[in-house]
Symmetry: C2
């Protein structure tokens, strides 16, 4: 039998009570028709999985009593921070879905010279990420930031030990860049939007300690470049 | 100025004349409004790029006279044969598009126990691949096979030196599998459809010389697994 997992935000868990709400609640109660007394599996997106019993169902949420908690370790020890120039909505959905399935830790959508000017619905992105975790079997929900101006993020990333920017020209290979580094706890990778980063933007990143790396010999669209970069990082740090 | 490249199938090139037809013809003549006497850039999908002049335009094709030929070497020396259980059309489009951008050499759609039963329009897939090459800057068009039954393909792949099947359990890492091998000229990777390969199918592959490899700690959808496998292969053979 397939075991369903429902996401409960950590803020909705107090002592042994978890409040299931929103889409997860509707899926559990209206689609899968779980009832009071039924056992459900919950996860908090931080590696904890709960076995719980539905105690009370109201119209918009249900209360679950936690019976046991299991801690699932991260299979990949490196945290990847994926910062990317904002792209069109279809490509963005794909990027969030695929990079979540691969275990990225943080998404940072960036406002850059060539990024698309559009709203960024972080709730919607979180839903896509949750769906993707359920499919991939990961219990770690990535943090999804609100869009930020590139220069601001370059400052915010100051303390990240390994900082890379994907760039085809004048760059070293991802492998060379990563084997030079000793501390792989957190790796930040910056990927341009469609149309790329402006040379001024790459220069500012370099000034702030980013290493330009080539992730593939061909020109890749943002979402594909992100996947290739993530996979490459996992490959070279192990 | 952006330089447009039009794909001409190698069969449509004789001596110094190339016949541009189909979508490529329409894009060149009707969308970009090229005229007799204009210079165009053509590629044959085998690494040759031609500078040519439009000699004659008829309703459904145009004749171009080749002025010069440039041979572009493959930036990646390993040929990857991507064999995959047939998946739904949207995921299939994505797989063809992304794997083409990454430089895969051959696509082999497979009929397996869990593969979707649907038509496979290889002309349409080729169009997606051509578009993807233009975007990525690759001049090597992958070969797209017609769907084949898995057991038949296992026989057909007998002479491929490195044969891998993506499998989460009872498998070694992609890295271990590849570093064991000396000859990396061609690597075939077999990826299951949604729902995976049946254990019998994996067993038959193993009997035929395939090594089960784990490509990622999480469960990935077919198209994402394909991209991750391709990227991993490039990472570990270099």
């Amino acid at each position: 039998m397939h075991r369903y997992f429902f996401y409960v935000s950590p803020g909705k868990i107090q002592n042994d009570t978890a409040i299931l709400e929103g889409d997860e609640f509707r899926h559990c109660i209206y689609v899968l028709r779980q009832k009071t007394g039924d056992e459900v599996s919950l996860f908090n997106g931080r590696g904890e999985v709960f076995t719980a019993v539905i105690d009370r169902i109201s119209k918009k949420y249900c209360e679950c009593r936690i019976i046991s908690t299991e801690k699932i370790n991260k299979p990949i020890s490196t945290d990847i921070v994926l910062a990317f120039g904002l792209i069109k909505s279809k490509a963005l959905d794909l990027l969030i879905r695929e990079a979540s399935a691969l275990g990225v830790s943080q998404f940072v959508p960036l406002l850059t010279q060539h990024s698309v000017k559009q709203g960024f619905n972080s709730d919607r992105m979180q839903k896509i990420a949750i769906e993707s975790l359920k499919q991939s079997g990961s219990f770690y929900l990535p943090e999804i930031h609100e869009p930020v101006e590139l220069p601001d993020w370059l400052d915010m990333a100051a303390n990240v030990p390994v900082k890379l920017v994907a760039e085809q020209d004048h760059s070293i290979s991802l492998q060379t860049a990563l084997t030079k580094q000793i501390d792989h706890k957190t790796v930040a990778i910056l990927i341009g939007p469609e149309g790329g980063l402006h040379s001024d933007e790459i220069e500012s990143a370099v000034i702030k300690g980013f290493t330009p790396v080539s992730i593939h010999p061909y020109r890749l669209r943002t979402e594909l470049a992100a996947i290739v970069a993530i996979t490459g990082i996992y490959a070279y740090i192990n």
